[in-house]
Symmetry: C2
Subunit: 440 residues, 2 copies
């Protein structure tokens, strides 16, 4: 069955079909329900959910989701005449691949977070989308909210990627961080990750590197412009690492990370692999800890680039799906490319610095005589500025002066300015050398 | 004068006009000349430069630039009937603002790296572009090749930015890094930056914070959807910092960075400022050193995101201009949004891991008896694997075993696999505990 004849502009809205209603699907459905007017402002037309495919119709759902839209029949969503954009969040390959293919074949655009499908079939699906004039977007498939797909598609189009190194599995990075920092055994760190919800009940796809392989296949396809089959990517998991490997690594000046690596080597061949690796402990990637992800590119023109953020979780993944959805929807309304979230109309009100609160660092040159600190403390106290720490040192005996460094608790900028005016007028204060705000 | 009647598709190419022929302008012109076929493949039509505005027609130019296109008359470029996209790289406000306005008024799209114009007039120019159905892109205005404009326009559209903190001036970050690491005085660090080409002969716009203010105004406009006038942004430069401020900061657990900060505070007001700030020395931004830039976002859905890279220089800035140019050009050919640089056709050839070279870390449990290390070294030597370091420790006396850790020089994976097979068969080697590749 083909797409309905009326386009979104004639119809007055963009029809959305949702496949899958897990944590991310629910987050997307809730955002469509609660942020409708903001989305409409940004897109130019309202988004209307036409159907939601679930596995179990009986399960209780978020109160923000219209129960009449729920179905267990894929065709209710995929063949609905008013669905312009299909959001696929089922995961896995079996049901998702035919659904994405079917949607694209009908000329509907697709937003997906499915790394397995994109890794195995991405090039063919992108070609299909292009042939049908539809969009296929998958920012959520790699690195959660980190805009790495967008960077490869857009930001780096003018540059040639030489090397790509990434930490793209939060579960294993959390486990490795616990093993490195606390000397935990692999099994204990894994149990801890499971208790915190950072690892699934069956963690094998994360632990053995398969998840990272899928993501690397997607990144390498975009970076090097040719499909890289996941089976060709060398893969080793983290299950064999012992706590003492981390101690030796530390002594030798390294950290151990599960790295996903893709390099363009001399004669047009690619070096593509996922395995635990020693990396110099002062390298940027060595400092990426816990559930965070990071992707580092080296390219001819742009030099080194690193993108860092939360690589998984419902919030970041929902954010990635929404940004893809907005972009595809803008394309359908002919809004011609990206634009800021809000209409740029009213000038933002900027609060004057005098009305803001900060902690401060103050460095003063003072007379080296008794009672100086008390005099300074009195001026600050009168202005309701309380002292957090004091350092007094570097006495210059020939000048008869000393240096005092004070850090304050949070204080109003106007109060500090008044107080420094008074301090400058004290006989015992020779100079206020520096006033620096602390950014917390 | 209005845009020529024939569109790029009827005409068979996209006409480009270049305003300004400094380092970046030359880089862009050279890329258009040398990478024409790659660009055409990606865009669908060739790009043809129709005119290049320069200040001094007599100056010698890159041999890759067609001298017949050079002009000192802005109208030769701006009123050329076949210019679809104007690339403005003149800098400053005086000539650039009317040029950008004129181009947009004629419905031509504009790519610019002009932070001053975008900071002062960005909202109005974006509105003008939208009204005329033209594009206005400015990735090169902030953070060089770091795709921060793209992230704000696209990646974060689904999320609400709460706080934005950035190091967006490479000159001052280089100076502060020298002052912190080597205890240099400000003046000495500035001279050093000038000698290395990291600071201009007149460095005042960098040193006093003006450059960062312009960039922050652009970022805040996109993050918060309303124009933020640069005059409303509180600004302090780095000229008053003394080397001992960095020593005190270090002792107190802080780094000093020139931060550009924008926060959405409680009642819809913005806190927007540029000044030297103490930040905790374990914070991500504290570790951004030298000429590098970084922009950190905290948002409701996406959590923390950090983008890091070279914030200036001809390569990164040229890369940013090219990626904007490609995106605008794709829009003109109706290629419908971003796509990978190359056609996804031929599968990339992946070199098997056996044919790659690595340094290795090997951990083995061995018999605690004389001659063991010699036996191991012989096996490795026979396989042409040379040893970089050896650690022997943790003797288990009851088991009569010891642990040996070896790191190797670069060796072929196949050789290492052969050698470890032989090591395992040695009587004195009880177990090979770990083999981990070193990523250099």
């Amino acid at each position: 069955m083909s797409k309905g004849s009326a386009g979104p502009i004639e119809r007055g809205y963009i029809g959305v079909g949702l496949l899958g209603m897990g944590v991310v699907g629910t987050g997307v459905a809730e955002a469509l329900s609660t942020q409708g007017s903001l989305l409409e402002e940004s897109i130019g037309l309202p988004l209307k959910v036409q159907g939601i495919l679930v596995r179990d119709a009986g399960r209780s759902r978020s109160s923000l989701v219209d129960a009449s839209l729920i179905t267990t029949e894929a065709k209710d969503v995929l063949e609905h005449p008013d669905v312009d954009i299909v959001i696929e969040l089922m995961g896995g390959e079996d049901a998702a691949l035919p659904a994405i293919r079917g949607a694209l074949a009908d000329g509907r655009s697709v937003v997906t977070g499915n790394k397995e499908v994109m890794a195995k079939h991405g090039a063919g699906l992108l070609a299909m989308a292009r042939a049908k004039g539809a969009s296929l977007k998958f920012e959520a498939a790699v690195g959660g909210a980190i805009p790495v797909i967008s960077a490869l598609e857009r930001g780096l189009t003018g540059a040639r990627v030489q090397t790509l190194r990434a930490i793209i599995n939060g579960t294993t990075n959390y486990i490795l961080t616990r093993m490195a920092v606390e000397g935990m055994a692999f099994e204990d760190a894994l149990s801890d990750a499971q208790e915190r919800g950072y690892a699934e009940a069956d963690p094998s796809n994360d632990v053995n590197g398969t998840d990272a392989v899928y993501k690397l296949a997607v990144l390498a396809m975009l970076a090097y412009g040719s499909p890289v089959s996941p089976e060709l990517i060398y893969c080793e998991g983290i299950g064999n690492l012992a706590p003492r490997d981390f101690r030796y690594a530390h002594d030798l000046g390294y950290a151990i990370k599960l790295l996903a690596i893709a390099k363009d080597i001399d004669d047009g061949e690619l070096d593509v692999r996922v395995h635990p690796a020693f990396i110099a402990s002062d390298a940027q990637l060595a400092k990426v800890d816990g559930v965070y992800n990071a992707v580092q590119f080296d390219s001819d023109l742009a030099g080194e680039l690193l993108l860092y953020g939360r690589g998984a979780g419902s919030g970041p993944t929902t954010s990635a799906v929404l940004s893809d959805l907005i972009e595809v929807a803008r394309g359908l309304t002919g809004r011609g490319g990206p634009r800021p979230r809000h209409t740029l109309s009213a000038a933002g009100r900027v609060r004057p610095i005098d009305e803001l609160d900060f902690r401060y660092y103050l460095r003063m040159t003072v007379a080296d005589q008794p009672g100086v600190l008390a005099a300074i403390a009195r001026v600050l106290g009168d202005a309701s500025i309380s002292i957090a720490s004091v350092i007094q040192q570097e006495v210059d005996e020939t000048a008869g002066s000393a240096e005092i460094v004070i850090t304050t608790h949070r204080s109003r900028e106007s109060a500090l300015r008044g107080a420094t005016g008074k301090l400058t007028s004290l006989d015992v204060v020779r100079e206020i050398g520096s006033i620096i705000r602390v950014e917390e």
